[in-house]
């Protein structure tokens, strides 16, 4: 067998999983959009979709909302990422905790919280009335702003973590060097730091945009009919109208839109930035953008000079940057801060203030077989998903290490493809094949779906660890007489164990919070925790949700802390 063949063999499990449960289902499902009842090719569905007009309108509206969410996520996330990337190690872990806490806590949980925060009796309205800014509570919910706030809140941590990866690779000495050459700190930032961090910004923007485009929770819970997003229409087509061809066409519309934006992105920056690779010099923004940045920096420097602002110590953000970062973090953890008191509420409905406190809703959770059953199922599914992801992604990451050039780019693109596919599309396509395979309502069906969705994250995390791993240690082990297997067991794996643990945690948490797959594939009987929470939110909306959310948050925090402990000090 050739060496290339051997390396590709490591991708075997990944290709099998992605081929059977990602590429094939999506291909088969999307093809439905071009077939009539007898299976003959037709463009009728496309024509009908186009003629109706509303679908294209909803798509445009979805793109608009997603673009705003992307803009806000990057703007809010940037100062936090900057502070996080440049803080000294001890402060860094504190900052990281505040970013990771919301990151690991459930999408659903945080979206629910905004209903309380922005509600007529919520803290925001209470504050406005108390401050005399408004005579009576405003209708903040069910609006464009509420949807954008809710989605941004959920997606900022993704933006932060993507940008930190790139920022940490920027040599801190460069800003210092700019200082010795006569640049004020703010000029050094705009001329040196910002251009070098642009690959991270664009990667973050891409990730946020794609995720936002596939969202349905925030618009469904926080928006009105005007904020309907395309994924909500897909759900409607599948679950209410059972119109597969039309669902396929809508997904296709979504994908084509996303692909066009990808193509633009790839031309500008290249997809490899998603793995956190620092920008290749030439790709760090065009000349025009750079000149613009430079002018901005000069203007800011002039302003600082005129106002006689004291420059911060070299290499650190100023007090202003830190203040922005703290505000951003407050915005991120606000939903979590609100949920806790609400979960102890004694009332019938989710509301603020929570009123008399008690454990009523916790008691209900723990005495309900439905909730306990769903929790158990979610944990089992998450554990199995983690196992599948590691088995598939770790060999692939090792194989990827040894690939170069075009083969490497192709392998990377294949491995992260599910990341670039809205989860909703994956879930609908899987539902389409599961119906045929008899996997609807089975644990296996859920695990496979979750594994496909979590795989890119695990792959990227493991690849990132391997990239920092010194291959000469393996060579040393080999020269000392260790077989490849012994080398892996005694040298490589112990050294990358920390990375593997955090990769596993990714898989576990993503699975625990995954709603899309369960929405269709759980078949109503085999409900997971997020599915049950979703049903509760759309049907009843009691403080029970806050209680469950708090419990989920506790479990996730415990896991994160445990993982941090298990990780060997580096």
């Amino acid at each position: 067998m050739t060496r290339l063949g051997q390396r590709l063999l490591l991708f075997g499990p990944a290709l099998l999983l992605l081929g059977l449960f990602f590429a094939a289902p999506i291909g088969g499902f999307l093809a439905q959009g071009f077939l009539d009842r007898e299976g003959a090719p037709t463009l009728d569905h496309v024509g009908r979709m186009w003629a109706a007009g509303t679908y294209v309108q909803v798509m445009v509206a979805s793109v608009k909302i997603s673009l705003w969410v992307t803009l806000f996520s990057v703007l809010i996330g940037y100062p936090v990422a900057y502070v996080l990337a440049n803080a000294d190690p001890r402060r860094k872990s504190t900052w990281a905790l505040f970013v990771l806490l919301p990151f690991w806590s459930s999408f659903l949980v945080r979206t629910f919280a905004w209903i309380v925060i922005l509600g007529r009796q919520g803290p925001v309205n209470a504050g406005l009335v108390a401050a005399g800014l408004s005579e009576q509570p405003l209708e903040l919910l069910y609006s464009w702003a509420a949807v954008v706030i809710g989605m941004t809140n959920v997606l900022v941590p993704f933006a932060i973590l993507t940008m930190v990866g790139v920022m940490e690779r920027i040599d801190r000495g460069l800003a210092v060097a700019a200082g010795t050459l006569g640049a004020r700190p703010v000029q050094a930032f705009f001329r040196i730091y910002l251009p070098l961090s642009m690959p991270g910004v664009t990667a973050a923007a891409l990730l946020v945009f794609i995720s936002a485009l596939g969202f349905f929770m925030a618009p469904a819970l926080l928006g009105s009919a005007r904020e309907t997003m395309i994924t909500q229409l897909v759900i409607q087509q599948v679950t209410e109208l059972v119109n597969w061809p039309f669902a396929a066409i809508l997904c296709l519309l979504l994908l084509v839109t996303a692909l066009v934006l990808f193509a633009l992105f790839d031309r500008a920056v290249g997809l490899s930035t998603l793995s956190g690779e620092a920008g290749r010099g030439a790709s760090a923004g065009s000349g025009v953008a750079r000149r613009f940045c430079g002018a901005l920096g000069d203007a800011a420097a002039w302003l600082a000079e005129t106002l006689r602002l004291a420059p911060p110590a070299p290499g650190q953000g100023g007090a202003g940057t830190r203040a922005l970062a703290v505000l951003a973090i407050l915005f991120l953890i606000l939903p979590l801060l609100v949920l806790l008191p609400v979960s102890f509420s004694g009332r019938e409905f989710l509301s603020w203030p929570p009123g008399a406190l008690g454990l009523r809703w916790y008691a209900e959770v723990f005495s309900s077989p439905v909730w306990l059953d769903a929790a158990l199922r979610s944990f089992v599914v998450a554990l199995l998903t983690t196992a599948v992801c590691l088995v598939v992604a770790v060999p692939a990451a090792f194989g990827f290490q040894r690939l170069t050039g075009r083969v490497a780019s192709a392998a990377f693109a294949a491995m992260i493809a599910p990341l670039l596919m809205p989860r909703m599309v994956i879930a609908v396509a899987l539902f389409y094949v599961y119906a045929r395979l008899g996997l609807v309502g089975t644990v296996a069906g859920l695990v496979i779906g979750h594994a496909v969705i979590a795989l890119p994250y695990v792959f990227i995390a493991v690849t990132a660890v391997l990239k920092t791993y010194d291959r000469r240690l393996d060579q040393a082990a080999a020269s000392l007489g260790a077989s490849p297997l012994a080398t892996a067991r005694h040298v490589t794996l112990p050294l990358i164990a920390g990375g593997i643990v955090s990769a596993a945690l990714f898989a576990f948490v993503i699975s625990l919070d995954e709603l899309n797959v369960a929405l269709f594939a759980s078949g109503g009987l085999q409900s997971t925790l997020p599915k049950l929470m979703w049903d509760e939110a759309t049907l009843r909306f009691s403080p029970l949700l806050a209680a469950v959310s708090t419990l989920v948050l506790l479990v996730m925090s415990a896991l994160v802390l445990l993982a941090a402990r298990l990780r060997p000090a580096s």
Partner: protein, 353 residues
């Protein structure tokens, strides 16, 4: 010295309990090439960073051209710095890297183009102006870093182990180039290194540092020939250190007395003293009577140009001797009688001032 270009007065740096630099005073004349030489942790980089304004001094003042710049931020100091890893901006071309300080000073484009072109020619990189830093070799990157540090005609140029990342051959080549550029430009340069060859070759004066303070400041040859302390003697060059007692203006080592031309450096009669004799300053004595030292050759390293002998001699920790190669081979095991001129016998003190 007329008014020094750089005047460091009692500058010190503490990190909590730890002292990175004890109060240090130092003057650098205009056009001078001063090297801060010392082992790692000796405080040389700390001092350099404080001159650059990248580390804040805990005490003392730094004057540049008579102006107190102790509290001036780095970007207003008019001091060019060549960093150890060059710190070239990876997203900017060679031209833009070198143009950067001029753009910060809002010079007109025509002037920038002319100055950058001139400076790149000076370091022989005019043809690579459009390249990105990563497309250059290590030596070329080093030259860009140097060009960037001098293009804005700074008052002072600081260099922090600028050749540290290069291989030996390139280092030797660039050393000569820096020397030539300094001779042409007559810039005031403060240069940090732990490599004594670099220090000897480049400097007008060497400031030897050890344990957070200045050990000795002297011209390279003076530092080599007349080190003041045991540390200076052993850090620069090879050394034979002999322990003895002062007796009547001479140094008694074992049975013999060594005359020294540096009697002013001897402590009082009866005090212990250590003297230095460089290996190449030891000579064979014509016979036992004229000998200051006596010993047996235990090892001979014939390097062609020179021959290095290891000699066991009572009352010493062993002697190293370097003689010119060629002629009659020296056999190990032979008895030898050695002597040294009084000016080559240098008394040392235990620690610096």
């Amino acid at each position: 010295m007329t008014r020094p270009k750089l005047d460091i007065r009692g500058v010190t740096k503490r990190y909590g309990e730890a002292t990175a630099l004890l109060p240090t005073s130092l003057q650098v004349a205009a056009g001078e090439f001063l090297t801060l030489l010392g082992p790692s942790g000796s405080g040389k980089t700390t001092l350099l960073m404080m001159i650059a304004g990248l580390t804040e001094a805990s005490g003392g003042e730094i004057l540049l051209d008579g102006q107190d710049i102790t509290r001036t931020p780095a970007y207003r100091r008019e001091i060019g710095v060549v960093f150890q890893n060059y710190a070239l901006f990876p997203h900017l071309s060679v031209f833009e890297n070198v143009a950067f300080p001029l753009r910060m000073r809002k010079r007109p484009d025509s002037e920038i183009a002319a100055a950058v072109g001139r400076t790149l020619e000076l370091v022989r990189l005019g043809h690579l102006a459009a390249r990105l830093p990563r497309e250059l070799s290590g030596g070329q990157q080093q030259r860009v870093a140097f060009a960037r540090a001098i293009v804005f005609d700074p008052q002072l140029v600081l260099m922090d182990e600028p050749l540290g990342a290069l291989d030996k051959k390139l280092r030797d080549e660039l050393k000569l180039e820096i020397r030539k550029l300094h001779a042409e430009l007559r810039k005031t340069i403060v240069y940090v290194t732990h490599d004594q060859d670099e220090a000897m070759l480049l400097s007008d004066r060497v400031c030897l540092m050890n344990e957070a303070r200045v050990e000795q400041i002297d011209a390279p040859v003076a530092l080599y020939e007349r080190p003041r302390t045991r540390f200076a003697a052993s850090f620069v060059g090879e050394s034979n250190l002999l322990d003895g007692i002062v007796q009547g203006g001479q140094v008694r080592v074992g049975e013999r007395s060594l005359a020294t031309a540096h009697r002013d450096r001897l402590p009082a009669d009866g005090q212990p003293v250590t003297v230095l004799i460089r290996p190449e300053r030891l000579r064979f004595a014509p016979g036992p009577d004229a000998a200051l030292l006596q010993g047996r050759v235990v090892d001979v390293l014939d390097l062609g140009a020179v021959r290095r002998l290891s000699i066991v001699s009572s009352g010493t920790a062993g002697l190293a001797m370097t003689v010119l190669g060629g002629g009659k081979p020296v056999e190990a095991g032979g008895e030898v009688f050695l002597t040294a001129a009084p000016e080559d016998v240098v008394p040392l003190s235990e620690s610096g001032s």
